[in-house]
Symmetry: C2
Subunit: 212 residues, 2 copies
DNA sequence: CCAAAAGTGTTAAAGCTACACCCATGG
DNA sequence: CCATGGGTGTAGCTTTAACACTTTTGG
């Protein structure tokens, strides 16, 4: 006779912070796994859909409505004591639009994906999988819109791609492919911001998932 | 105050039956959704992992140990009355190795994917997603090993691909790509089976998931 | 010898990768 | 006029798609 299972939604929230791909983690100030960092999440009680639970978690932590939210997978057996499943999601947000909760209990913070500490539960694995998915989808979808503001320069977009993929992309080829793929369009605007030629600003034609 | 949620694993079991991609469905002989066909599944009680629960369902229905089993996604809200989540998996099996349960309660049967009836719950959507995943993975992995016996001819493999993708593939290009990718190798054997030249038999180098 | 499936190469088009120089601006 | 990032084209290579004839066997 086992107790009824608990169901939780957890969210890997990605953003580009200081040019580096980062995830939002909360610091656990109570057992279990006290003192470790972990993914934010919420227990699910059936009063809403799982996706809504994930979206609510995202909004609570970032203040921002998620631009991109996708289910990853479901894991069981995190807690050996009681039956529990966690449904993992990942989200992409514009770091500039985020207002983190300021709290002493479970304070959240951005952590660079390239140098994560050991996390509570199996959360390191979840983040690795999320990263693999984002990298793959970057190649054949427009999901990068989730990480950028309404208007941006091609340089910003280029750097976003490089941060996520973790490798340099040829600048000319990147522009060519991206413009040819017709996911972004130039607005008339230019951004002047230094002692150099101003950059044209672009926007995504669709701010919703599109496959190429 | 909501009751505790129930968790179930459901499995989309694919096989090639009479040259057509098919799924195994059970006929519901009791409410809810009595009289409709549905995906087989099992309630999860926490005594095993979700994947084990899916594998057990697969074995119970087919007698065969699943060669390929992968998690798809998790859906909530199937039952408006009580909170429930279903974790969907898909499996690939060799139809020849299957021994269906013969039962009067919830009898199972193969149904061609190309012409499915309306199914219980949201199961039509689950199957569509599973199909999309299998099609995508066929292109860049060796998962077809799950659908074929130990030894097979290139024609059989070719037809398997065509059944799943639902479109013809050039025979010469197919052979070239497949042999170049080094996922299969010729055994010395030939199969004589008619008034024509015998076909060489092949086998998969690895009968476990490999990315190309 | 006939019917049936097995086996095998080439060519054209498209896409990808690598690579270097001029332009517009602010100071 | 100088430093800084913005913007652009081409050539070689690899990959993909289209396509038809010869071989081996059983009856």
């Amino acid at each position: 006779m086992t107790p009824p299972p608990t169901v939780a939604a957890i969210v890997v929230i990605f953003a580009i912070v200081d040019g580096e791909l980062s995830v939002l983690l909360i610091h656990r100030t109570a057992p279990p796994e006290e003192g470790l960092w972990a993914l934010p999440g919420a227990r699910w009680d059936g009063s809403e859909s799982l996706e809504e639970a994930a979206a609510r978690t995202l909004e609570k932590e970032t203040g921002a409505r998620g631009l991109y939210l996708e289910q990853l997978f479901t894991v069981s057996g995190l807690d050996p004591a009681a039956p529990a499943v966690a449904v993992a999601y990942f989200a992409l947000v514009d770091a500039e639009a985020v207002r983190l909760r300021e709290e002493r209990e479970w304070p959240p913070a951005w952590h660079r994906v390239a140098s994560l500490p050991r996390l509570a539960f199996e959360n390191n694995v979840v983040i690795e999988q999320a990263l693999a998915r984002v990298r793959a989808k970057l190649e054949y979808t427009n999901i990068a819109y989730g990480l950028l503001p309404e208007r941006f320069t091609l340089r910003e977009l280029h750097e976003t791609y490089e941060s996520i993929l973790g490798r340099p992309l040829d600048r000319r080829n990147f522009r060519k492919r991206l413009l040819a793929s017709e996911v972004v369009e130039a607005t008339g605007e230019r951004r002047r911001e230094g002692a150099h030629r101003p950059a044209l600003m672009y926007r995504f034609l669709k701010r919703e998932p599109v496959f190429l």
